[in-house]
């Protein structure tokens, strides 16, 4: 069996600085710039990508943002010309890229179907035979003669989808198109795609949703910064991608611990300022600690916590609430009295014993 898509050593280079001149002035300015700098601005969106697909292969292209997923689709669709390497395709191609774009805004849906169809390589007879089907699928029966410029973006995408999927292609290129329109249309479009997968068609599908790729594809590949990381059966590739996109559990723990510590620190600081307020209030207004706490709306079950905080502050900073100062004075006095009664500890022990005996 011959491969339907054969990509060998595909490389796509974009020269960032060269693409910037849009006017003659910029062009001449760039001419005099150092060649070295120009080289630096080379950007390889894809480099040395090779793979083969056979009829019936449904390839999911996975990768993080900027991995070159859409570039590879556009290169296969023929929109981009490969910088290096080559692409061979066999059969009719249906590219579902940028669905809402490429319409003539002043044209009605009817005229656009003919124009768009002719760009996709449909014949006039074919478009005529499929016309009603396209309109019906796009749900635009009432708007056939309305200029497309008055359409919503959803209507445009639906029309684009309907035109592109009117054929039975050999190669189907899907760039996250299954996110078109509302939920109902999304389901309808996915059903349509599924109905096109008759076992002979080759599919290239880009999506961020691993679950969607699993549902549609039987093969997958992962692109990483323009390089082919792995290529194979979906069941082999999916766990690799899942792992790639999942964070390291250690990392998650660390991050969570850090966040928790941060939260606690903030809470402690907030309590400390409140505790200071309480101390000041008790000292200045001559009220009890409880009253002060009640005055600044501290819930009763937190009283204990605040006593602790206040104690800490007293220890650290040597400030005392009036009450504590009084208490401390009273305690000192009591101690003094006790010391007078019992000159030393031994005596006290003895006397205790005496008490016990008697």
């Amino acid at each position: 069996m011959k491969p339907s898509v054969e990509v060998s050593h595909l490389g796509m280079m974009f020269n960032l600085s060269k693409e910037m001149h849009d006017t003659l002035k910029d062009y001449f300015i760039n001419l005099f710039k150092h060649h070295e700098k120009m080289k630096k601005d080379e950007f390889w969106a894809l480099s040395d990508v090779s793979f083969k697909l056979y009829p019936g292969d449904r390839l999911g292209i996975l990768g993080l943002n900027g991995a070159g997923k859409s570039t590879i689709l556009k290169a296969i669709a023929g929109v981009y010309h490969p910088t290096t390497g080559s692409i061979h395709k066999r059969g009719k191609l249906a590219p579902l890229l940028e669905l809402g774009a490429g319409f003539e805004p002043q044209y009605s849906a009817r005229e656009n179907i003919y124009l768009y169809g002719s760009i996709l390589g449909y014949s006039k007879e074919f478009i005529e035979s499929k016309f009603d089907e396209i309109i019906e699928f796009a749900e635009l029966q009432k708007f056939v003669e309305v200029p497309v410029k008055n359409y919503s973006s959803g209507m445009k995408s639906r029309l684009g989808f309907a035109i592109c999927t009117a054929v039975n292609p050999d190669i189907l290129i899907l760039d996250e198109v299954l996110s078109v329109g509302d939920k109902k249309f999304r389901r309808k479009s996915e059903d349509k795609i599924m109905s096109m997968l008759n076992g002979e068609v080759t599919v290239l599908f880009v999506s961020h949703s691993l679950e969607q790729v699993r549902r549609i594809c039987n093969k997958a590949m992962i692109l990483d910064h323009g390089k082919l990381k792995c290529f194979g059966d979906i069941n082999e590739i999916a766990p690799i991608y899942a792992e790639m996109t999942q964070e390291d559990p250690e990392e998650i723990k660390k991050r969570e611990a850090k966040a928790k510590a941060n939260r606690e620190k903030k809470l402690r600081e907030a309590r400390k300022t409140k505790a200071h307020d309480i101390i000041n209030m008790t000292n200045n207004l001559d009220i009890s600690v409880e009253d002060a706490m009640a005055a600044i709306d501290i819930p009763e079950d937190k009283y204990k916590t605040y006593y602790k905080v206040i104690d800490e502050i007293e220890k650290e900073e040597g400030i005392l609430t009036k009450q504590d100062a009084l208490k401390a004075a009273a305690a000192e006095e009591a101690e003094f009295d006790r010391a007078a009664t019992f000159p030393n500890d031994e005596d006290r022990a003895e006397s205790d014993d005496d008490d016990f005996d008697s």
């Binding site: 974009f14 693409e19 001149h21 849009d22 006017t23 003659l24 002035k25 062009y27 669709a77 023929g78 929109v79 981009y80 010309h81 191609l93 590219p95 890229l97 940028e98 774009a101 490429g102 319409f103 003539e104 002043q106 044209y107 005229e111 003919y114 124009l115 002719s118 760009i119 996709l120 390589g121 014949s123 006039k124």
Partner: protein, 259 residues
């Protein structure tokens, strides 16, 4: 070469759709539609005849209307065709970003739809000839090489401009200026006898469009044309045509990076 002709054949439906679009959009939402392609040259020529007839003492010469009309029709097609072609690639960016089709189709379709409008507008020559009291003669055959040379030249120039315009937006403005120079070097509304002895007359002969206009005038007003008036625009047009297509072929893969 065979491949290209086959490719061209494969894309004939797209080309016809693009040409149709050009004509449709040009006259969309106007009441008279394509009839304007007849009325407009008649009205503008009437103005030119009155103004420049008085200015150059030609008010009593009935053939002056034919003289101006021939120049105006040819120049207007050249102007619209090249201007349209120069914007064709950018104007179709949406399609170019979707799927590969040979890019020359866009400027070519632009020239062709203007060409069809030009052919329709040739009908106005009938009343103008009647006004000028000129009877058609065998010399009318010159219109055929004239039309063919004009088409080759316009396609060639349009193709070159469309490639340049992708890389340098300045072309649009520069070309407007050049078109004005070309217009004055085409002797559209002033009688050629007035400047025949001027030392800059050679500039007119350098203008292939002037030669083509002269072929039209020779055919309509029954005078002879020297051979070089066929040969020069032919060579010039074919060179532009070849250069245009080679430039298009070499550069079309880069277009996408500039759109």
């Amino acid at each position: 070469m065979k491949k290209y002709i086959k490719g061209f054949y494969d894309y004939r439906f797209l080309l016809s759709e693009l040409v149709k679009r050009g004509i449709r959009l040009k006259y969309r939402r106007s009441y008279l539609g394509i009839v304007w392609s007849l009325i407009e040259p008649l009205m503008t020529t009437a103005v030119l005849v009155v103004v420049f007839g008085a200015l150059f003492d030609r008010a009593n010469d009935p053939t002056f209307a034919t003289y101006i009309m021939a120049g105006r029709l040819v120049y207007t097609f050249f102007q619209n065709g090249t201007k349209g072609a120069s914007k064709a690639i950018r104007g179709n960016a949406g399609m170019i970003k979707k799927i590969y089709v040979p890019k020359y189709l866009y400027p070519l379709s632009n020239v062709l739809f203007n060409f069809i409008i030009f052919l329709i507008s040739l009908i106005v020559l009938v009343p103008v000839l009647i006004i000028s009291r000129l009877t058609p003669s065998l010399r009318l055959w010159k219109l055929i090489p004239g039309i063919i040379l004009l088409l080759i030249l316009t396609i060639g120039v349009g193709m070159i401009l469309s490639v340049l315009d992708v890389f340098f937006r300045d072309i649009e403005y520069l070309w407007n200026v050049l078109l004005m120079i070309i217009m004055y070097l085409s002797a559209i509304f002033y009688p050629i006898e007035r400047i025949k002895k001027h030392h800059l007359m050679w500039l007119l002969h350098l203008n292939p469009l002037y030669c083509i206009i002269n072929l039209f005038r020779g055919g309509l007003m029954k005078y002879g044309n020297p051979l070089w008036e066929y040969a020069y625009p032919f060579v010039f047009g074919v060179i532009c045509f070849i250069v245009g297509f080679i430039a298009m072929k070499k550069k079309q893969d880069e277009f996408i990076l500039h759109l």
